[in-house]
Symmetry: C2
Subunit: 357 residues, 2 copies
């Protein structure tokens, strides 16, 4: 018997008649050892990351999972401690030309102005209402922030959830003409499933709004609300006119989940240091540092957007164009190399980028 | 066949020879339906809450679990949404004469004064150092707060965890002469296990410090750090002299997880409304309101400390003595009755209070 198994050799099949007898609790001549061998053989033949090209990135993921989940391995991690964290924008789904949540907020402005007509004459709402895309694109972040506060806070949590859900169902990305929730990276979806299949709890740790991401994370990534850590404002508890309690979204920011805010948010919301962390920009650096500062096997990966044809190319690492949205500096690139973090090249490492391709 | 099953009737046993054949994948004459009936019967005979006396409280828990986990029941709750929240002090373990975390902070004062001798002459540290128990007991909460800030913040997270772990191993409750972690209520431990066995995620939602409770929650209750929601200050990310990143506990309070802070904390940390909530004082009222404001079956329970002999008796509900620690007012008692929340009488509903009894 070939213990290693040859994926191209003859597959081992049970005679169908015996299989039927197993299913019907019939007389079974097959020993348990033989059954386990067949099961092991079948697993060895299944590639957990079929959308990845063979290379250092794919190998790093598989080596990490095998080392941390194999009993007896010095790097074995008990199931309860298996935590993997993922940035969202640019790591799990498309973030260019603009973060989806910002587009949501801009799209909410007309309804906001309708409810509060006095805003029509006030910046930055005036510019957004003008529809002048160039002028909107030039709004400084301080002005954008006013739009975020006005469209993301002040309403009951349930109303916000309903509005966000409606937008996500209706809005379309202008390039792919698809809902934003379809613009997730298939190779990363495979990593999420592969890690979960090996006992890892997968978390989103995003600079985006925690409540916004929670609206779709479960359906889009299989990540439940309690495993979404994001920038978070508080809520205020109160009662409606019938005495029914409800929560209102408060403008006060509790957690700015970017840069150093990521490890701080991880401590607040999870209370464990991750064993694996995935990001794609300078805002993820501290999360990767914090992850790899722990003992044992740690996996740190950064997605590099170097595929102008199938997605986008931006850096400024490797001489690609600079960007305000998800910048990956040459300094970060050099540091990743120095520290042994793995840079994922979308162009070279991903055979397929989207499920719909 | 008696479908309802009579736990005191003749038990249905399989002939042992047949059981052995099942175990050995041998010839099985028993039908699947018969097997399922036997399994169901065996389960019905196992009391999931053996430390509870029969009564309304025990029945409320079992009815809730059966309704929400039985496929086809109108009140069925999908597994992903099964969330149950538990206050800790006075609900899962003893809180009198004083919350364990306050005792920890008081016990830390000598080490603190040793490190910062100037504190010896400053209140409230001076009073604590005097050892005058009566004077310490009279310190107003504002002064106690200064002790909390000084002993719970300003140090690296890892140092705090190590100190808390050491104290928990060494400190003893003066009445029972046991570690505080042994003073958990056996009937509530049974509820935690019963709910988890039925697919519920169990959370602690405590006014106590999130980091402090996380140190022992996993070992003491089987509740992992990511399922502990507590009063939380932030942390600050930084680097030691070797460039290794670490988190320092910051004094700024992010979440005061009492009263209205409990539903606010639940939204922040879990993002789902609980189906079941357990508390014991006015600080839990909003959590129970928020829980029961949801659709379908909801379970709201309050532990009443009315057993002076086996534990403590305090209210001021039902004419028991008033207390600053875990007060259960007559108004809350009346409201619970009005709203259909179940009050658990420690005296009448609990056959046994501690595992060591």
């Amino acid at each position: 018997m070939n213990e290693a198994g040859d994926p191209k050799g003859s597959p081992v099949f049970l005679p169908e008649t015996n299989m039927n007898r197993v299913a019907h609790f019939g007389v079974v001549r097959l020993s348990l050892a033989a059954l386990l061998f067949v099961a092991g053989h079948a697993l060895a033949q299944t590639d957990p990351l079929p959308s990845w090209n063979d290379g250092a990135a794919k190998k790093a993921i598989i080596d990490f999972v095998q080392a941390t989940t194999t009993h007896g391995n010095a790097k074995f991690v008990p199931p309860a401690e298996r935590v993997a964290t993922f940035d969202q924008d640019g790591t799990l789904w498309v973030e260019h030309p603009m973060y989806s949540q910002i587009l949501y907020c801009l799209d909410r402005v007309p309804a906001l102005v309708k409810a509060k007509p006095e805003l029509a004459k006030v910046e930055p709402f005036k510019t957004v209402m003008s529809g002048d895309r160039e002028a909107i694109a030039k709004l400084p972040f301080k002005e954008i922030e006013k739009i975020l506060v006005a469209t993301l806070t002040g309403m009951p949590v349930d109303d916000f959830n309903a509005e966000a859900r409606k937008w996500l169902a209706e809005a379309r990305d202008p390039r792919w003409k698809r809902p934003y929730t379809e613009l997730t990276y298939l190779p990363m979806q495979e990593v999420l499933k592969y890690l979960r299949g090996n006992g890892y709890k997968t978390y989103i740790v995003t600079g985006g709004g925690q409540d916004f991401v929670r609206v779709y994370a479960e359906q889009t990534y299989g990540i439940p609300p309690e495993q979404v850590v994001g920038s978070a404002a508080g809520t205020k508890y109160g009662y409606d006119k019938n005495g029914r309690p409800f929560l209102t979204k408060d403008p006060k920011l509790l957690l700015n989940n970017n840069d150093a805010g990521k490890p701080e948010g991880i401590h607040l919301m999870i209370g464990r240091r991750p064993y694996a962390a995935f990001g794609n920009s300078g805002g993820d650096q501290q999360m990767l540092e914090y992850t790899t500062a722990g003992d044992g096997a740690r996996l740190a990966m950064l997605v590099l957007h170097d595929d102008a044809k199938r997605e986008y190319a931006y850096g400024p690492a490797k001489g690609m164009r600079d960007t305000k949205v998800g910048a990956f500096s040459q300094k970060l690139y050099d540091e990743a190399t120095k520290k042994g973090w793995t840079v994922i090249s979308m162009k070279d490492d991903w055979q397929k980028i989207f499920a719909f391709e």
